[in-house]
């Protein structure tokens, strides 16, 4: 089984990894994403996807978000490619919603992570990903 190792930063005890998101016409932005095993969906911020050519009208479905006082709406979008933890995933479905934080561009959720076995080693600040044979 092929294993890929990536380093991460512990940022206020969150696991911060480097990613690349390829958008419309191949324009590519680097992104800082939090690895979040408690999130079902991978989320990118509206500002990040706008910079690579997408807007809400490229979304194909609303995504409902429950807050403490109301329900808000993000949207689902297929980005041309998401590269994170050394894995390139074309035509990947993400939710788009603002996350507030100024140093973060999104969350890597379980809809990405579930395709691999992975091991997070906080002391070494490494994540090992094991590709699963089809």
């Amino acid at each position: 089984m092929k294993k890929i190792s990536s380093s991460f930063i512990r940022s206020r005890e969150l696991i911060l990894v480097e990613a690349e998101v390829i958008g419309r016409d191949g324009r590519t932005t680097e992104a800082q994403l939090i690895v979040d095993t408690g999130a079902a969906a991978t989320t990118l911020t509206p500002k990040l996807v706008k910079r690579i050519g997408y807007s809400r009208k490229d979304g194909y479905k609303d995504a409902k978000v429950q807050t403490a006082i109301s329900e808000e709406r993000g949207y689902w979008l297929h980005v041309a490619q998401l590269d994170v933890l050394g894995i390139a995933t074309p035509n990947f479905a993400v939710t788009v919603f603002p996350l507030g934080h100024q140093n973060l561009d999104g969350l890597v959720g379980m809809n990405f992570l579930r395709h691999f076995n992975f091991e997070i080693r906080p002391a070494e600040q490494l994540i090992h990903v094991e590709l699963i044979e089809p």
Binding site: S5, S6, S7, F8, I9, L14, L16, V17, E18, D25, G26, R27, T28, T29, E30, A31, Q32, I34, D36, A39, A40, A41, T43, K47, L48, R51, K61, A63, K64, V65, Q66, T67, E71, G74, W76, L85, G86, A93, T95, F97, P98, L99, G100, H101, Q102, N103, L104, L107, M110, N111, L126
Partner: protein, 102 residues
């Protein structure tokens, strides 16, 4: 001065991240030619600054319409975030669950 000359005048030489933070404190910066440590580390060794400002839009504006010249970039904030992470609680319907499992 045309648009290309204006960007050229803004564009820096490759700078260490600490120097970028010192030159543009608590600002957003738009970076190209970003060099990272091995193993896809999020840390930045050096990068060239092609835009900066109080907002990410302002930092990105100089290269927004110059995809051919700048096909790859990063926008970063040089300070500590003053806004906490808002972790969204999505409410998924059946169609959403199919997307998640695809």
């Amino acid at each position: 001065m045309d648009a290309a000359e204006q960007i050229a005048s803004l564009e820096t030489e490759p700078l260490p991240w600490a120097e970028i933070c010192a030159r543009y404190p608590d600002q957003y910066v738009c970076l190209v030619d970003v060099m990272h440590p091995p193993l896809r580390s999020p840390e930045i060794i050096t990068a060239r600054v092609v835009g900066h400002g109080a907002t990410d839009d302002e930092a990105f504006e100089p290269i927004r319409d110059r995809a051919a010249q700048y096909p790859r970039f990063a926008v970063r904030f040089t300070g500590e975030s003053t806004i906490p992470l808002l972790r969204p609680s999505f409410v998924f319907d059946e169609e959403d669950l199919k997307l998640l499992h695809s």
